[in-house]
C-alpha cells in the first residue's frame, strides 16, 4: 500500500509529457470538444471510451494538430503546439499515430512505407553528421527490416500494401510509426476496420509496445483490451471528460450515470 502510494507520488511530481489545457474544438456551429483538460505522464496507457460522436477521434486528432484546436493549449516538449506559429512537423515527429483505416502509402512498398519518413526527415541531419546519403539510407533500410522482422513480415518488404491483409497492414502501420522513435503513440480505433480473426494479432502488438514503456493514448471499443492495458480510462461524453480513473474504477464502479448507461450498452 505504502509503496503504491509512493509510486503515484513520484509519477505526479514529474512533469507531464503531454498537457492538455482547456481544449476546445468546433466544426461550424457544432461544439465537439468543450473545455477538455488532462495531463498525460510518461509511460501512461490512456484508453478513451465513449459513444459514437462523443468527440474521441477529434480529441485524439487535436493532440497532434491534425485538427486545429479552436482554443486552449496542448503542451508537448514544453511547447504549446496548439499555437499556429509553432512548426508542428518537428513535434509530430515525436508523436506516432495509428489510424482505423491503416493509411499505408499505396504508392510505396511495405519497406518504403517504413523508411520514408525517417529517411526524408533526418537525411539532412545525417549529412551534417558526416554520413553519406547512401550510408544513411542503408541504415534506415536495416532499421525498417528489423521492425518488419519483429512483426514477422520480412518477406513482405517489397510487397505493396494492397496485397496485405488488414491485420498485416495495421501491424506495418504501427511499426511505421515506431520507426520515428516517438515519445507518444496515438491510436484511433486501431482494430475497428479489421475482420474479427485479425484483431488479436494487432492488439498483441500494441500490448507488446505498451509493455516496453511507450506512452499511449488509445481510442477503442475493445473493452477487454482496455481493461488489460489501460493505466487510466477516460470516458468521454458529448465533448467532455465525463469520468476518468483506473480500469476497475471506471468499469466496475462507475460514478457518472452516463458512464453506467454507456457500459450497460456495450458490455
Amino acid at each position: 500500500m505504502n509503496e503504491n502510494k509512493f509510486d503515484t507520488l513520484e509519477i505526479n511530481c514529474k512533469k507531464p509529457i503531454l498537457s492538455v489545457k482547456n481544449l476546445k474544438k468546433t466544426f461550424g456551429k457544432n461544439v465537439v470538444l468543450k473545455d477538455i483538460s488532462t495531463d498525460i505522464y510518461k509511460g501512461e496507457k490512456i484508453v478513451i471510451v465513449g459513444a459514437s460522436g462523443s468527440g474521441k477521434s477529434t480529441f485524439l486528432r487535436c493532440l497532434n494538430c491534425l485538427e486545429d484546436p479552436n482554443g486552449g493549449q496542448i503542451i508537448f516538449d514544453d511547447v504549446d503546439i496548439a499555437d499556429p506559429k509553432v512548426n508542428i512537423n518537428v513535434h509530430r515527429q515525436n508523436m506516432g499515430m495509428v489510424f482505423q483505416q491503416f493509411n499505408l502509402f499505396n504508392n510505396k512498398t511495405v519497406l518504403e512505407n517504413i523508411m520514408l519518413s525517417p529517411y526524408t526527415i533526418y537525411k539532412k541531419k545525417a549529412k551534417k553528421e558526416g554520413k553519406k546519403p547512401k550510408e544513411f539510407k542503408e541504415e534506415c533500410r536495416q532499421n525498417a527490416l528489423a521492425l518488419l522482422r519483429r512483426i514477422g513480415l520480412e518477406d513482405k518488404a517489397n510487397a505493396y500494401p494492397s496485397t496485405l491483409s488488414g491485420g498485416q497492414k495495421q501491424r506495418v502501420a504501427i511499426v511505421r510509426a515506431l520507426a520515428m522513435n516517438p515519445k507518444v503513440m496515438l491510436f484511433d480505433e486501431p482494430t475497428s476496420a479489421l475482420d474479427p480473426e485479425m484483431v488479436g494479432e494487432v492488439l498483441n502488438l500494441i500490448k507488446e509496445v505498451a509493455d516496453e514503456g511507450m506512452t499511449m493514448v488509445i481510442v477503442t471499443h475493445e473493452m477487454g483490451f482496455a481493461r488489460e492495458v489501460a493505466t487510466r480510462v477516460i470516458f468521454m461524453d458529448d465533448g467532455v471528460i465525463a469520468e476518468e480513473g483506473t480500469p476497475s474504477e471506471v468499469f466496475d464502479n462507475p460514478q457518472n450515470p452516463r458512464t453506467k448507461q454507456f457500459l450497460n450498452a456495450v458490455l
Partner: protein, 234 residues
C-alpha cells in the same frame, strides 16, 4: 488504277516530296511533345495549388488566379490563342515551332489542371494525414505520396488529352508553321491534285496516334501491375 498510283507517286515520291511529310511530321512531334511537357508541369502545379487551397485553406489568392487562367484558356478558341501569341506576344520571335509548342502547352495545361485536380481529389485523405502525422511537411507529403498517386489516377484521361493534342496541333498551319497538317496544301499547289496528299497526311496522323495509343496502353498496364505485385521477391 494506274492513274491512282501515278497521283500518289506525284504526291509522295516525285521531287522527294516525302521529305516534306517527314519535316511536317517532325515538327508536329516536336510541337506536341514540348506542349505536353509544358502542359504537364503547369497543369500539375495548378492542380496542386487548388488541392492545397481546398485542404489547408491557404493559397486563396493563387488559387483564384489559377481558376481565372483555367476559365479563360478553356473558354477561348485555341486558334485565337495561337494568333495572339504568334502575332502579338512573340511578334519579334521567329521560332514559329516553339511559339506553337508554347501555345499548345498553355492550352493543354488548363485541361491537364482539371484532369489532375480530379486525380488529386481521388487520393484518400488518410494518405495525407498519415504523411503529416509522421512529421513530413506539406511539401514532402505532396511530393512523395500525393502527387504520384494523383498523376497515376489521372493517367487514362491524360493519355486521351495527349492524343487529342497531337491532332489539334494541325492548326499551327494557320500562322504558316510547316507541320504535318500544312504539308498537303503545299503539295497541292504543285500537283493540283487534292486527295492524295490529304490521304497520305491523314494516314501518317493515324499511324502516329495508333502507335502512341498502343504504347500508352502498355504503360498503363505495367503501372497497374506495380500495384499488385505480391510479396516475397526479396
Amino acid at each position: 488504277m494506274s492513274d491512282i498510283i501515278k497521283s500518289f507517286t506525284r504526291a509522295f515520291i516525285v521531287q522527294d516530296r516525302w521529305m516534306l511529310y517527314l519535316e511536317g511530321l517532325g515538327n508536329t512531334v516536336i510541337i506536341a511533345s514540348v506542349a505536353v511537357l509544358i502542359g504537364l508541369v503547369i497543369g500539375v502545379l495548378f492542380a496542386m495549388i487548388n488541392y492545397l487551397k481546398k485542404k489547408t485553406g491557404k493559397l486563396k489568392f493563387l488559387s483564384a488566379l489559377v481558376n481565372i487562367y483555367i476559365t479563360v484558356v478553356r473558354g477561348t478558341p485555341v486558334v485565337l490563342q495561337l494568333m495572339i501569341l504568334y502575332f502579338v506576344v512573340f511578334a519579334t520571335w521567329d521560332n514559329g515551332i516553339m511559339i506553337g509548342a508554347i501555345t499548345f502547352g498553355i492550352n493543354s495545361s488548363a485541361y491537364v489542371a482539371e484532369i489532375v485536380r480530379a486525380g488529386f481529389e481521388s487520393v484518400d485523405d488518410g494518405q495525407r494525414e498519415a504523411g503529416r502525422s509522421l512529421g513530413l511537411s506539406t511539401w514532402q507529403t505532396m511530393w512523395h505520396i500525393i502527387i504520384p498517386q494523383a498523376i497515376k489516377n489521372s493517367l487514362p484521361p491524360l493519355f486521351n488529352e495527349f492524343i487529342t493534342l497531337i491532332k489539334e496541333t494541325a492548326i499551327v498551319g494557320y500562322v504558316g508553321i510547316i507541320d504535318l497538317g500544312k504539308v498537303p496544301g503545299m503539295i497541292q499547289s504543285r500537283t493540283f491534285e487534292y486527295l492524295p496528299p490529304l490521304i497520305i497526311s491523314a494516314a501518317i496522323y493515324l499511324g502516329l496516334v495508333m502507335l502512341l495509343t498502343f504504347a500508352l496502353r502498355k504503360m498503363e498496364k505495367a503501372l497497374a501491375k506495380s500495384d499488385r505485385n505480391g510479396g516475397g521477391k526479396q
